[in-house]
Amino acid sequence: MVHARPNDKWDRSRRIDWLDVNALRRARCLVVGAGAIGNETVKNLALSGIGHITVIDMDSVELSNMNRCLFFRARDEGKPKTDVVAQGARELVPESEIRALNGVVEETEIDWNSYDVVLGCLDNIKARLHVNAHCRYHRVPYVDAGTDGMRAKLQVVLEDGPCIQCTMNNSHYRVMERRFSCTGGDFSYYEPPMAAEITTTAVIAALQVREVLKILSGKENACIHNVMFYDGFSNDLLELEVEIDEKCPNH
């Protein structure tokens, strides 16, 4: 029996038998992307008690972000997304260390080995492949989420399993440099803004962080070992088996 500890913010979390809250407090997570998924993910990580969170993004807050980004306010327009997200998370959990890195992930020097898990909250395939390759090389677990309107997907990349690139084909490489961002501006590969809303984002970010909690609690065997697709309209959650692609350069 676990006795109530009223002074412990994570008292209720400690009542979940497989969750290692002490490990979460020690853990270091890198969140790549501070858009819609990134906002939800950082909130979930912070409230779960992750002790050290770094969030990296290159963008600034825009009005069109505000239908789905918890930490953004109208007064934040023009500010770096990472600063706003980090500040919001610090207010939620002042005991944790939340760092903001404002920059392009491909152009930023990152000590990948200093992180226990990396979370992909990205809006383009090029950056996904970059992060995926570094995580594979440094053997850091990578949990990647993506959305498109009411659809979303989630993939957990562990040392012995397939990676993001193993699931890709020519259709991905054709649009590799396109940003599937809801804002769409200030980028050389401009595409019309895509549909995006909070409920699908919230579902996939919750699943993403839950997989991270399993990894950090030593329950990797309970993680999704394939790729999961979510249809928010029908509420179908489909897990598809993926094999390591023998031609994938990351294996």
Binding site: K153, N169, V175, F180, L238, L240
Partner: protein, 79 residues
């Protein structure tokens, strides 16, 4: 030997019958189906049952059979 497969569009449930050869790749099928449905340029994957099919594998590699039903799924890449 040419076989006939059905590709289902996960976005609207419509179907397309295609004749494919053993050397036809999964990428060819994705491209053909996306073109038929005039889909916008984007990332797509193809599944058979619970298995996601590798893009570069052929009909023969993937052990597709006559009358198999595949599903074309958009691969969400937004954040």
């Amino acid at each position: 030997m040419v076989i006939e497969i059905t590709v289902r569009n996960a976005e609207n449930g419509s179907t397309l019958n295609m004749e494919v050869e053993p050397h036809t790749t999964i990428e060819d099928i994705i491209e053909g189906a996306a073109e038929f449905w005039q889909k916008e340029a984007g990332a797509y994957v193809l599944r058979r049952g619970k298995r996601l099919l590798k893009g570069q594998s052929t009909v023969q590699d993937a052990e597709l059979k006559n009358k198999d039903v595949l599903e074309l799924i958009p691969d969400p890449e937004g954040g």
